[in-house]
């Protein structure tokens, strides 16, 4: 085996950290994103709950967050991080900026997916007397799910990229290992190895995403 310059335990820890960060922030981020994207779709000028103010506010908040480079975002929200998880550093602390990063990103992707749902389906829902929540729950989300799954996939991969930078607040993870111990220390074997781990991650996520999306789109 090639000498990587870091012990295996370190690699395993990094992998665990990445998985932890990705899944927890993805989970929370997805929930927020579903909420926000639904709000955007419902309140937009062509939506069934047209509301200029809410739309503009959510749209702007999403844009503002999306505008801030992730590394700066992390610093900006340190106080928030402290408030929520009690510390500003480490893997758990990284969850806060990661969520703040991924939620508006997924919001945009989901918004696009949900907007593709056929207007006729929404009319069917309205005709059945569905509440707004029910329209979303039983009609919009299920009909968009093939596209939503791919959006989550795309988002997850973006999130892995962000976790690499979360090393800046001591979050660890494979991406950070690649950057600091691999890239910055010019440890090319490690860099390649960690990138390969990332590729395996991404490829698996994409494969799973494609599988479910295709399965669901078949009908």
């Amino acid at each position: 085996m090639i000498e990587l310059g870091v012990p295996n335990s370190r690699l395993i820890l990094a992998a665990e950290q990445t998985i932890y960060m990705v899944f927890v922030s993805l989970g929370i981020g997805t929930l927020i994103a579903v909420l926000l994207s639904v709000v955007l779709v419902l309140t937009n000028p062509g939506g069934i709950l047209k509301n200029k103010y809410i739309y503009v506010v959510v749209n702007t908040v999403v844009n503002v967050i999306r505008s801030i480079p992730f590394i700066i975002l992390m610093v900006f929200i340190l106080p928030l991080t402290k408030m929520i998880v009690g510390t500003r550093i480490g893997t758990t602390a990284a969850l806060v900026p990661l969520v703040v990063f991924i939620a508006p990103y997924l919001t945009r992707l989901f918004e696009n997916s949900i907007l593709e749902v056929n207007k006729g389906i929404i009319e069917a829902a309205q005709a059945m007397g569905a509440s707004y929540f029910e329209i979303v729950r039983y009609f919009l989300l299920p009909e968009a799910r093939g596209s939503l799954i791919l959006s989550v996939t795309t988002g997850t991969i973006g999130l892995i990229g962000a976790t690499a930078m979360a090393g800046a607040i001591g979050a660890g993870g494979v991406g950070n290992l690649a950057l600091t111990y691999g890239y910055e220390r010019l440890n090319f074997p490690l860099m390649l190895f960690t990138v390969v781990i990332l590729i395996v991650f991404v490829q698996s996520i994409q494969t799973v995403g494609n599988y479910f999306s295709t399965k669901v789109r078949k009908h």
Partner: protein
């Protein structure tokens, strides 16, 4: 840039970062060079590795951002041909207060922040060894040690390696922080509040670095002499508030 080493070369470029070294160069050295008729252009390169690659490729002429240890590592790994011409004033790393305000408050399981950038992690572990909190593997080169090389950690200190720039912002989350001078400088921390300061190893002194084949170029010599000039010494005398460690050559 370019590789023309002719004595006629008066336009020189360097890669520039947002640290004290580039700034020191701009304020203390550049005016001297300009008086000699040089046109000096800085190119913003926020990443030292990229800056070295550019230097190695001849896309810029020199930089003043690294110590010998880093440069040698670069030469080894990237097939580089960089040489150090002269040490320059360097800002030492220091231990600063986190939530604890003096070294003897070190306690079991204390939290300590350490920079995660390649150029500085080792320096900080060396400093921690100097104050007696840890013991490093004596077989390893002090300038490249990592966390794995700690062989004794009696206080069970929890190290958090993170981007050093962010350390001042989260000072309160640690018991102590270890940061390099450039961070102290950027974060406007009073250097005199350091609880301990590193003994700068010769290997860790910042250097004027150029491409091997340019080491005898007239412009290179002129930069070296600027760093050694009285004018610069005077400037340092007026502007050093304790931040800078000044190598003997420049004193």
């Amino acid at each position: 840039g370019g590789d023309d080493t002719g004595s006629a070369k008066k336009e020189i470029t360097y890669s520039k970062s947002q640290g004290p070294y580039s700034e020191l160069f701009e304020k203390g050295i550049k005016p001297i060079l300009e008086k000699k008729g040089y046109k000096v252009t800085g190119k913003d390169m926020s990443d030292l590795l990229q800056a070295d690659v550019a230097l190695n490729e001849g896309e810029v002429d020199f930089n003043v951002e690294q110590h010998t240890a880093y440069m040698e590592n670069f030469n080894k790994k990237q097939n580089g041909h960089l040489v150090a011409l002269t040490p320059i004033p360097t800002v030492p790393a220091g231990i600063y207060a986190g939530s604890k305000s003096s070294l003897d408050q070190i306690s079991d399981g204390a939290k300590v922040a350490v920079p995660n950038d390649a150029a500085n992690t080792a320096r900080c572990y060396a400093l921690l060894q100097k104050v007696g909190w840890i013991k490093l593997n004596p077989e390893k080169d002090l300038s490249t040690v990592t966390q794995q090389d700690i062989i004794e950690n009696p206080h069970h200190i929890q190290f958090t390696e993170m981007k050093s720039l962010n350390i001042p912002a989260v000072r309160g989350d640690f018991d102590f922080i270890v940061i390099t001078g450039s961070i102290v400088y950027n974060a406007n921390i009073d250097p005199s509040t350091a609880l301990a300061t590193e003994d700068i190893l010769p290997h860790l002194l910042l250097q004027l670095v150029v491409l091997d084949k340019n080491k005898d170029a007239q412009w290179a010599k002129d930069i070296v002499s600027a760093y050694h000039s009285d004018e610069f010494k005077k400037y340092m005398g007026e502007h050093n508030n304790g931040l800078w460690y000044i190598p003997k050559d420049n004193q």
